[in-house]
Symmetry: C2
Subunit: 280 residues, 2 copies
């Protein structure tokens, strides 16, 4: 991590959270649950979604633009609530930034190691996250006795975005993607894309009840709380009324985003603002 | 159309063709077949694909950036080989540009009118193209006696991009999207997205052999040839060896693009160059 400048971390400052689109809302939701006093500025890059089929260079450039945008709100920390951006860009973002940056890959890797009993861990994610091999690398750093089986599942994001959360087509696609992981005998499966918790029950049904599903969103919120607590940076008081506790920004299609957001988060999101992220 | 400056249209200049990604290659393929003496500069916006779920403003901004890029090659005309960009941006592009701009929507609309016998035309396309209602508008302008039934099919693009051209899942999704069009009794179906010709046989099987499938790519190449001929701007001689007859540019993932392109176009595409389209 680059040199952290604690002067920049005001306790009552908001937390920046971003994703390529709506998937990161599953992480925002966990933060809202676990540290309800915190303010959040969420950015979803809906003009350039999805990231999962794009290259390291492109995803990193997009993430850097978004970090610049979030910093304009004097956020005290930034959560990269997107596995692809975490896998490709987090080292560079850490080097370039003087506030803490938290990704979703490391917390997910740690939980999986604690969960596995037979040492066989499966990872499902986008093409980009899988080809980065970041989960394998993090898990190996922590414990080189486990074996990791990675599998790209490129159709899950469009299926989730089309709302086919419970659908025979999603079942069939899940069966194709998961069969080899079942045959290998994994006992732990990391949901390595923030969209996947939304089809958790389908995935659980197909993979079988003996496999533990790891949702990195939960552990990421836990790590965030710990980091803020260690730095004495937790917000002590609930933000007052009218303080815009949760603010949402997108690069396109604000209305569609709000509809989707309200199906994930139960706080009654009224609006999202559109910004031209290329020119921020 | 804005004022066309014929001085800018050199006969041996290339034709610019663009799409959000690989779909427009079905249009480039038709141009290669029908006017084989022409040079082509193709741009696929693979860093920001897909366009079909994005807004008019965003798609128009992207199209304007690409037109600037293609003009740097002194192209004599530009083919918008993407239904979404044609539907959303073509009027603005025509106003802003002094070379001819050809979209895929108008030629497709014209062919459908000639093909229908019972006056019931179906259009399948991305969410964006359908919500623009451009097909309905063009068809009505030409013949207000026909009825048009439009249907957004958002999962077809990811299914095509994943290579599931012949697959039970694609059959099932096609059945869901097409059932209401079958029940209505359309006799003509416009494939209103440049990806769809790649699943033409699936679509034909599901919709039944009494329905005529209209592929706007074919008619667009025909219109292009006619326009060039009317302006005495057809290239008279085949480009010499080493003249880079077909050049491909993308905003991301050149290798993946080349693999896909070679499955569509049989000319043996060796390479594609990556450009940062946001900064052109």
């Amino acid at each position: 991590m680059g040199q952290i400048n604690r002067e920049l971390m005001r306790r009552d400052a908001p937390i920046g959270v971003f994703d390529s689109g709506v998937g990161g809302l599953t992480v925002a939701r966990e933060i809202m649950r676990q540290i309800p006093n915190e303010k959040i500025i969420y950015f979803g890059d809906t003009a350039r979604v999805p990231y999962g089929s794009k290259s390291r260079e492109t995803v990193t450039r997009y993430a850097e633009q978004i970090v610049r945008f979030l910093r304009s709100f004097q956020v005290k920390t930034i959560v990269v609530a997107c596995n692809t951006a975490s896998a490709y860009a987090i080292h560079k973002l850490e080097q370039e930034t003087d506030i803490p940056i938290i990704g979703v890959v490391k917390p997910g890797a740690r939980t999986a190691i604690n969960a596995t009993r037979n040492g066989r861990i499966g990872v499902i994610a986008t093409e980009a996250t899988i080809s980065s091999q970041m989960y394998t690398r993090y898990i190996r750093e922590l414990n080189d006795g486990v074996t990791i089986y990675e599998k790209a599942c490129p159709l899950f994001v469009p299926l989730v975005e089309e709302g086919l959360w419970e659908d025979p087509v999603t079942d069939e696609i899940a069966r194709r993607y998961l069969t080899e992981l079942i045959d290998i005998g994994i006992d732990t499966l990391i949901l390595g894309c923030t969209h996947y918790p939304l089809i958790r029950s389908t995935l659980g049904r197909i993979i079988g009840k003996d496999v533990t599903l790891v949702n990195p969103a939960y552990e990421t919120a836990l790590e965030l709380r710990q980091m803020l607590s260690d730095n004495d940076m937790l917000n002590q008081d609930p933000p007052g009324l009218g303080s815009n506790k949760y603010q949402f920004y997108v690069s396109d299609k604000a209305e569609k985003f709000v509809r989707f957001a309200n199906s994930i988060i139960k706080y009654g999101i009224l609006s999202a603002k559109t910004v031209n992220i290329e020119e921020v």
